[in-house]
């Protein structure tokens, strides 16, 4: 958590002959949440998979990724220190809540007691004290989402990827959980990329928006765009949306 930025240098994606994303360059500052939007199938999730190193080999990708000063492009996922949250919480069903959290805790915390204490403290901080021995299946959707977030944070990531992690929660819960996530992001100064379909998410994120699409890149408000051809896929970077209520 060094406060470094997440930097994408001319990252582009292809699937077979189809260009999904022309070279995109973007710097996500520490503590900034940049939102990625666009129609289904345009490659948003694949971009995240590329960034964290789990892209399906059927894709061809190029470009470099930096976390802080470190070029993580060639590193395996487990050494990139890029955390990711998905639409589903993906808690391991064969482990208890506490074991799930401990799974995320780095091995550098060696002693069993220290590990236990870290897990307990994390749970208590999140209002889930006493949940360590629970089966994830017995938790509510909101609780599970929080545990997934805590597990990811315990792994001490240097950057964060959010793949529509709020979309399966009901509206009241969604706003609350979103706030929790963004609070953590800011407190820990994590550069964060958020993929979403929900304009409210982008608004709450309060950062710039990368819009994937096919529109010609002549938006006067747009920042540096990708190097796409007219009519082809492009990604346009827009400034933060204005909040609806001031």
């Amino acid at each position: 958590m060094s406060g470094g930025a997440l930097r994408l240098c001319k990252v582009s994606l292809r699937l077979g002959p189809r260009l999904l994303l022309p070279p995109l360059s973007l710097t996500v500052r520490a503590g900034e949440v940049v939102t990625v939007t666009g129609p289904s199938g345009c490659g948003k999730s694949s971009l995240l998979a590329y960034l964290c190193g789990t892209l399906d080999p059927a894709f061809r990708a190029s470009g470099r990724v930096f976390v802080g000063a470190v070029d993580v492009t060639g590193l395996p996922p487990e050494r990139r220190r890029i955390g990711i949250l998905f639409q589903d919480d993906l808690l391991f069903p064969h482990l208890t809540v506490g074991e799930n959290l401990a799974f995320g805790l780095p091995a550098a915390v060696r002693r069993g007691r220290d590990r236990r204490e870290r897990v307990e403290a994390t749970l208590a901080e999140a209002g889930l004290a006493g949940f360590a021995h629970r089966d994830p299946a017995t938790l509510s959707g909101g609780q599970r989402a929080r545990v997934a977030l805590l597990r990811m944070l315990l792994s001490e990531p240097a950057a964060l990827l959010l793949d529509e992690p709020f979309s399966k929660l009901d509206p009241a819960l969604r706003a609350k959980f979103r706030q929790t996530v963004f609070d953590h992001v800011r407190r820990r100064a994590l550069p964060t990329l958020l993929v979403t379909h929900d304009p409210a998410d982008a608004e709450a994120a309060g950062g710039r928006v990368v819009a994937f699409g096919h529109a010609p890149a002549d938006d006067p408000a747009a920042g540096p765009a990708t190097e796409g051809k007219a009519g082809g896929p492009v990604a346009v970077i827009r400034p933060a949306p204005l909040p609806r209520r001031s």
């Binding site: 080999p57 506490g98 069993g112 021995h133």
Partner: protein, 600 residues
């Protein structure tokens, strides 16, 4: 569903120029894991290839060990001059094809008639135990059931039949092989049903039926027209395997098939075991003929498929929606299937009852006195074959499960796509008749000095265990939500740790079930034990089959019942173990504390 045995469509990393990198950093040299697919392939395809060569060479006169030093056609001439041959070939083709057609018709008929009903859901639960029971046990149980002195005759006598003593009727081992066909249908129908159920899960069958029914089709017609054409390509290979098996089965034919002449495969076994060593050449030629027959039958079936496909095409869109006849047909098919499952259950019950029968006079429906003496008397004789069965089964299933896990893990780490060609390779040991390559494999083992050893025995079982373990495990392994793996990797876990701590525990149940299936397959193997064991190893199967030829039913019952029980116990353990671990977990977590689990 297809195996990743070969890297057919691996991603092409690093084509994107200087800044490009390997597409997906999951691509890493996986250490030894990389070699697992090649090792697996060579372990189970090399012996088959070598076995085929080692069988065809003697068929053309070349077997220096027995003085065959020159090539010629004398073995073939002797084969075609054998008086039993025409009858054996006719019987083989007749019973094999009839059994396959009936099993297929019943499996498809049952799916069409009963999908979406409660009996269909119930069937899913009884299929696994039905499949686990070895062919030989079912065959012996069936013989006990339908023989003139069997259970059915006893239940009907003397009030319905007037029989006070068993009549002299060749019901079992009848000259037309009908009891053999019935024995095969009893085992192959559940297998094809299971394969169909697996295929149904992949084609959104319920939606297709719902759409067709909304268009006014009866349920069975809807299934036949909207679903069967979709799943047939996926049950084609299993069907070919059934056809090859039915055309070349030995143990079931020894128990239920006629003896003069027997079908080709048992006839070949007789020749291979002939004291006159020169008969080996004729037998080898016969093994070649067996392979040709199976290949021809598969080709014939494939041609039939196309023809039926073409002829049925207009019927699919003819608009006929299945009318009044449908409900009757559904009832008939449902009744026949229920009868089959009932018969299989009675077969097992018959083995159990005979094994504890003391006095059981004809035509009493049940023994008048019961005893455990049959078991006590044979416990010593049973011990060694039971031990051999258990150890070979466990070893073959363990090796197969480890290899399959290695292949599947390698496939996922390298992002390989399963291919149709790989699936054909996987089915190879199931489509090449055992008798057509086991002799050659035995010759090879003798040359290597391995015949009659444990490794040879386990290896020969592995050939047949491996495909089933693969087919059973591949789908659940590939279906595991890949994001669990990504999540674990992004939490800093190495791929090896993800495999051991996330994938294996989450897939514990399918892994254990695959292991149990492998064990069941090994327990049921007859011919591989005979050939690779070099006569030194007896299993429950080889003992039960040789006893079935004439021993006291009480003794046969003991052996066959134990043979049937071993795989069932393995299945029960495979299902119970994960549940037991799950029950234990909260306590364990409480005791050791949650955090300690993550230390690593």
């Amino acid at each position: 569903m297809a195996p990743p045995l070969r890297p057919v469509t691996a991603g092409h990393p690093g084509r994107g120029g200087a800044g490009a990198l390997r597409a997906g950093s999951l691509l890493r040299p996986g250490g030894l894991l990389r070699y697992v697919p090649a090792l697996t392939l060579s372990l189970f395809l090399a012996p088959i290839a070598a076995g085929l060569v080692g069988t065809w060479l003697p068929a053309f006169g070349w077997l220096p060990a027995l003085g065959g030093q020159s090539f010629g056609l004398s073995a073939w001439r002797a084969l075609f001059a054998a008086p039993e041959l025409p009858g054996a070939v006719a019987l083989t083709l007749g019973t094999g094809i009839l059994a396959t057609v009936l099993s297929f018709a019943l499996a498809v008929g049952f799916c069409a008639a009963c999908h979406g009903t409660r009996s269909f859901a119930w069937l899913r639960h009884v299929l696994a135990p039905l499949l686990a029971v070895p062919h030989a046990a079912v065959a012996i149980g069936l013989a006990f059931l339908v023989a003139p002195s069997g259970w059915i005759a006893r239940l009907l006598s003397p009030w319905a039949t007037g029989w006070e003593t068993p009549p002299d009727l060749a019901v079992v081992r009848d000259p037309y092989g009908l009891s053999l066909v019935l024995g095969l249908v009893l085992k192959e129908t559940p297998y094809l049903l299971l394969m169909s159920l697996g295929a149904l899960g992949q084609v959104q069958a319920e939606r297709a039926v719902a759409v067709a029914r909304a268009l006014g089709y009866g349920p069975a017609t809807a299934w036949l027209k909207a679903v069967l054409p979709q799943i047939y390509p996926q049950i084609r290979l299993p069907l070919y395997a059934v056809l090859a098996f039915s055309l070349s089965v030995v143990d079931v034919a020894l128990v239920l098939g006629p003896g003069t002449p027997p079908p080709l495969a048992p006839l070949l076994l007789r020749w291979f075991n002939d004291p006159d060593l020169t008969m080996r050449f004729q037998a080898a030629a016969g093994a070649g003929l067996q392979l040709v027959l199976v290949a021809a039958a598969i080709a014939l079936w494939a041609g039939g498929e196309r023809l039926v496909g073409r002829l049925a095409r207009p019927w699919l869109s003819s608009g006929g929606r299945g009318g009044a006849g449908e409900s009757l047909a559904r009832r008939v098919i449902g009744g026949v299937t229920a009868g089959l499952i009932g018969a299989a259950a009675l077969c097992l019950a018959g083995l159990a009852v005979w094994s504890v029968a003391d006095r059981w006079r004809y035509p009493d429906p049940l023994p008048t006195t019961w005893t455990l003496g049959n078991w006590q008397r044979h416990v010593e004789a049973l011990a060694w074959p039971a031990w051999t069965t258990l150890m070979v089964g466990l070893a073959a299933a363990a090796v197969a499960t480890a290899l399959v896990l290695g292949c599947l893990e390698n496939e996922q780490r390298h992002g390989l796509r399963p291919s149709a060609r790989g699936l054909w390779l996987l089915y190879a040991p199931l489509m090449v008749p055992q008798v057509s390559f086991l002799f050659g494999a035995q010759v090879l083992l003798v040359r290597l000095g391995l015949d009659g050893t444990w490794p040879a025995l386990v290896w020969s079982h592995l050939l047949f265990v491996l495909p089933y373990v693969f087919l059973s495990l591949a789908d659940p392994y590939r279906a595991l939500d890949e994001r669990y793996v990504r999540t674990a990797l992004c939490l800093g876990a190495s791929p090896a740790r993800v495999f051991w701590r996330v994938k294996l525990p989450m897939l514990l149940r399918p892994v254990l079930v695959a292991f149990a299936i492998g064990f069941a397959v090994s327990v049921s193997l007859y011919l591989p034990t005979l050939f690779a064991g070099g006569g030194r190893y007896a299993t429950l199967t080889t003992e039960a089959v040789s006893l079935a030829a004439g021993a006291d039913r009480r003794v046969v019952g003991v052996y066959a019942f134990l043979q049937a029980m071993l795989p069932l116990l393995a299945f029960a353990a495979a299902l119970a173990l994960p549940a037991a671990l799950r029950r234990r977990r909260p306590r364990r977590a409480m005791r050791r504390g949650s955090g300690s689990e993550g230390a690593g």
